[in-house]
Symmetry: C2
């Protein structure tokens, strides 16, 4: 392999060969392309991914941009990530676009930046028992060791905003990694419960109402005290199903921050107020009896199993 | 007033005076600014709004751009709307940004393009009865005359994709105005029921299950037939509460199309599958007994009344 990592020179970048578009997002004004780039004229070309963000592109422009690397301004390099800005009339101050070069790019990178097909699933209680629960039970606890480290103060202890002690109703509240801590419109906190016996929404019943109500009350009291620019009526408290990890946690997100990974789309997200209401007003075992509807990407672990079990939405 | 409308000249645009930023959206990469522009050196300056879309801006750049109008390329003019693209290294083919000038801009324009504050509300059954229902009942039917025109085939009859006749379970299915009819990833249809006695989600009970199930079945059967690129498991069927108009209708939107006005955010959107499940599995009067949680903008008609009624979310 090449001796040391360094940024490609303009001359090298000019040899970038466009292969295909991996994904395109008109909302984000971004496009991810796959190409080939060699470290030297005698080396074998390797996969290289270019991520662009700007006003909507077409593929003709991507081909054109890749002949003009000498006009790009390098910003920073970190390991295999090389960041640039592209020119407008005043490249120093107002870039037309940002570009990140990932090189060499692995298959995992290519999968990560490619568009995934999505499908909608109806998970009945029966399908939960026969497909999803066995999957969750088989997950190694090591996958959530990082959660236990936070709960045990072995990591990130200095970021804890609030802690309520106790097995039954205890939890910690921390800023989410995705939040910069400054932009109040994008406020994003996470509540992680101390108890380890709630894997997901499916495990919740009437015995958990004191915990859920304690979370709601303590968090809504604290927010305006700690973040005076944010009212108790300006945040959403919700959980995901399927969650991204199987230790019960609640997201606390500013109303205005509505484009977050995992998302707050109906079906995936469940408001804490609705969860409490469903259990308290309608059925202590609501979440064991309800059919839950959500989308999965084709790379999700449960996608194949749920498809085989016939859980995909149909007439 | 000026005799005829015409696009501002470069010289005129150079006199644009920036007043303030109305709204900024990091997701869309857009910014709306308010300024002042006069039709001639002897005329009084009038309000002018500039809408920009691109990679995230800061206000320093807006001030700078407004000194460089001579570099803008005009695209089209329509009434008070003047559209431009801004320069990169190749203005003919690859613009850095799009800009729309609205001039003269009315107060209604300014309100429209300004950011609205939002708050989250818990609407209990009691608050529905005392505040929301009277509001809905007092709305003039003329507000939904356009819906009746569609149902009676007085308008848009040629766009009807499917019709099921009958008072109890009847409905029509049409493409939504917002959909171009071509981009399958953005497929957006609307189901409008024939019966006129369901104003919103709050009116639904077990007697409506046949209607709701008929809608689900017929729509999910039709989609893959009429739009072969779209599976029955690639669309979301949902309703809004509060809805944008008070005649029961169901949205049918492609899974991938997740940034739509009104939105599919949890709380505002309710999956048809969840509505059917809640009524059928848990309580025939679920939607009369549940507390519904949703956000409103401060310009919404119910914002003030619900705030006075104490419905804003609190600990």
């Amino acid at each position: 392999m090449a001796a040391e990592l360094r940024a490609p020179t303009d001359k090298e970048l000019a040899e970038f060969v466009y292969v295909k578009t991996l994904a395109q997002d008109a909302r984000d004004k971004s496009i991810n392309v796959l190409g080939r780039l060699a470290k030297s004229p005698t080396d074998e070309p390797q996969n290289a991914i270019l991520l662009f963000q700007r006003t909507p592109f077409d593929e003709g422009e991507i081909l054109d941009i890749s002949t003009r690397f000498h006009t790009w301004k390098p910003i920073e390099f970190n390991d295999i990530y090389y960041r640039y800005t592209g020119q407008t009339y005043d490249i120093e101050r107002y870039p037309a676009f940002k570009a990140t070069l990932i090189w060499p790019a692995t298959d995992a990178h290519i999968a990560k930046y490619s568009l995934q097909a999505r499908r909608l699933f109806n998970e009945t209680p029966e399908i939960y028992q026969s497909v999803v629960k066995p999957y969750i039970d088989a997950l190694p606890l090591s996958k959530i060791q990082w959660v236990y480290n936070i709960l045990e103060k072995k990591a990130e202890a200095d970021t804890i905003i609030l802690e309520v002690e106790g097995e039954e109703k205890g939890f910690i509240l921390t800023p989410d990694m995705k939040w910069d801590g400054i932009t109040m419109d994008a406020l994003y906190l996470t509540v992680i419960v101390h108890r380890r016996d709630i894997k997901s929404l499916r495990d919740l019943n009437a015995s958990h109402l004191p915990l859920l109500k304690e979370i709601r009350r303590k968090v809504l009291e604290l927010i305006p005290q700690k973040y005076p620019a944010v009212g108790a009526d300006e945040v959403r408290l919700f959980v995901h199903y399927q969650p991204t990890y199987y230790h019960f946690h609640v997201h606390v997100v500013h109303l205005r921050h509505d484009t977050i990974p995992g998302g707050i789309v109906v079906g995936r997200a469940h408001l804490l107020d609705d969860i409490i209401g469903n259990i308290e007003t309608f059925d202590p075992n609501y979440y064991q009896k309800a059919t839950l509807t959500y989308f999965l990407g084709e790379n999700d672990a449960l996608f194949g199993r749920l498809s085989e079990a016939g859980a995909r939405v149909s007439p």
